[in-house]
Symmetry: C2
Subunit: 410 residues, 2 copies
Amino acid sequence: MGELNLEKEISDLVEWLASYGADSKGGVSRLLYDENWVKAQDALKEHFEQIGMVTKYDEVGNLFGKMEGSEFKDETVATGSHVDSVKFGGKLDGAFGILASYLAVKYLKEKFGQPKRNIEVVSIAEEEGSRFPFTFWGSKNIVGKVDASEVRDIKDQEGVNFVDAMKQAGFGYKTSDEGIPADWKQWLEIHIEQGGVLEIEKIPVGIVQHIVGQNRYTVEIKGEANHAGTTPMKYRKDAGVAAAKIITMIQEQAKDFGEPMVATVGSIEFVPGTVNVVPGQANFSIDIRHTHKDQISSFAEKMTEKMERIAEEEGCEISINLYMEEDPVPMDPSIVQTIVDQCDGQGLSYKLMHSGAGHDTQRFAPLVPSAMIFVPSRGGISHNPAEFTYPREMAEGVKVLALALHKLAY
Amino acid sequence: MGELNLEKEISDLVEWLASYGADSKGGVSRLLYDENWVKAQDALKEHFEQIGMVTKYDEVGNLFGKMEGSEFKDETVATGSHVDSVKFGGKLDGAFGILASYLAVKYLKEKFGQPKRNIEVVSIAEEEGSRFPFTFWGSKNIVGKVDASEVRDIKDQEGVNFVDAMKQAGFGYKTSDEGIPADWKQWLEIHIEQGGVLEIEKIPVGIVQHIVGQNRYTVEIKGEANHAGTTPMKYRKDAGVAAAKIITMIQEQAKDFGEPMVATVGSIEFVPGTVNVVPGQANFSIDIRHTHKDQISSFAEKMTEKMERIAEEEGCEISINLYMEEDPVPMDPSIVQTIVDQCDGQGLSYKLMHSGAGHDTQRFAPLVPSAMIFVPSRGGISHNPAEFTYPREMAEGVKVLALALHKLAY
């Protein structure tokens, strides 16, 4: 692989795909089944075919490009990511994974010829849930038939129905339910980190061992709204102070718990919310994530206990609503080791890490041995036109992916 | 004074005045210069005249009813409160003070005849700032001419200009600037507490020694908005956590500082304010009040220092904007003592206290010896249709006011 060439090729490919859905903010808005989404999938299909891949769409619009193997025709190493972006997103989230997969296969083909096993690049229809209130539409359909009732009545912001948009793009519901393709023996996804760890620690490649699980809560604290001037401190039931003490406690508990635990209070509201009234109510969110479910449970249990105590100490009532509970997903240790070995063999530096964000891979990993590779996100920024990875870092990622695919498929 | 009669009379008067502006929520919406405001002032004028008072409006619509003295015709004891309410307010805030003053004078006249000094009941045009964004329009005009430029361009929520509303009600700018009436020797205001102290401590009457001063701030903390899943705790600059620690600190510092210090964070916002993003910014308000300016300054200095330290510890920047700074206003110790003596003499129980809310009296007190009397507010509730004081408590307040007026004017 010519290094410089790889840098230029991946950069050019990223710019090329970003032209499908280039938006007014300098980023990409390529939403499921919209005009640019259709054009992007068709253009990718053409690219896949140009390097000798056999292509197909499934019924919902996932695009598959297969470089057929010479020996083990019923064994496939699958790789890819999602083609949709968030609204006003960047050029890399999802897109980079498809393009890196394509480029890795192109180089392997040029250098080593036909693989022994099939390598299948997948441009997954949808992951973000950005047009319609439904996430992982693509990967959920790859692993099985999705119940039509889940999307039948959902609409986008313009009032367009999900099914109408799907039909207009030329697709429809999946009819068969054979589950994840039987020939898939491994799944690999390369993605931008969407965090700042690799950049801060100056490491070009991350090898993911776990995708975190997460609990999300809404919390409502009820105290007593009172006049800020006429209510002595001792007679207050200040829901805002209770919330503040809880936020402080959550940060401290997460730090004490140790990595990879993260806990975040991202939104808050005081009611009535005016300068001269003691808050009678405070509403806020909690998001906690860890790579191990038992650790999430243990953290959540302690946190809940402390929250209740703090609320009581402030004379308030608390109601804690767990509305999302996703299990952590471990990557396949043997593929992780394969990638590690390839990096070690080539003297490439890498970090064994976890993914704090969700990815298509979490849908596949319970069904097929899976792994993920990360490249740095400058400033940890994602879902934003400022999403950026240096060409040399992207190229390094493509190289690691190619080495892994070579090991698994040749 | 017949006790039972007093209870019934004050209750009836409160209901009567509340009929001018009775609103859909069961309370009172009587806003400056609106139809009900005009009717209420005219009806009060008629009542004042019926008990032998000489009445007049000033140019802006403050109503004065003078029970003339027999001996000291250039010495007046003035008493009253404001006739306007907040939108969807209660029946007592302001109104009770006017009616109690009227009733006290009526009873004194019946029982003791003409006073030696004038007693003047004032129905002050406006205090709340509820229709137009301008407070204390009435009392400010009593103590001097208000600069027309301050109200010329302000409008109410319906877009009605202040000056047009004033003219339609039959009033206009004050033309002379003689300052507070030269004959006013004392000012007394009776008001509902608008707090819960008297109720909690089961004391029917408060004698105010100070009206608190207050500082109000807006605070902006800037950290770094980051992905809640991919940003380890150690790499965060969480503006929300910094705000939470500051809110906790402010409560603790206020408690440690001791009464009558109160400090409140009544409103808060995290930016971007979503469950899965570490807050990059937090904006909140602070309201601190105390009866002594040096104590406010000392509290504010320590608070500011700690806020800056907390922000720095969380890797954030802080900007603290003091946008309101009102000095505390002491009541006249000699009138306070007069009221205390009257209560002691009659075996009435009272509490020496401060006012945590602002009142017309704070405009007069720097210019003429002033004092305030409080009656309990059930549940501490004010600015709400649920505003309520038991008839026996209102009667007790009228009695104390009458005793003070008798002492000062007879």
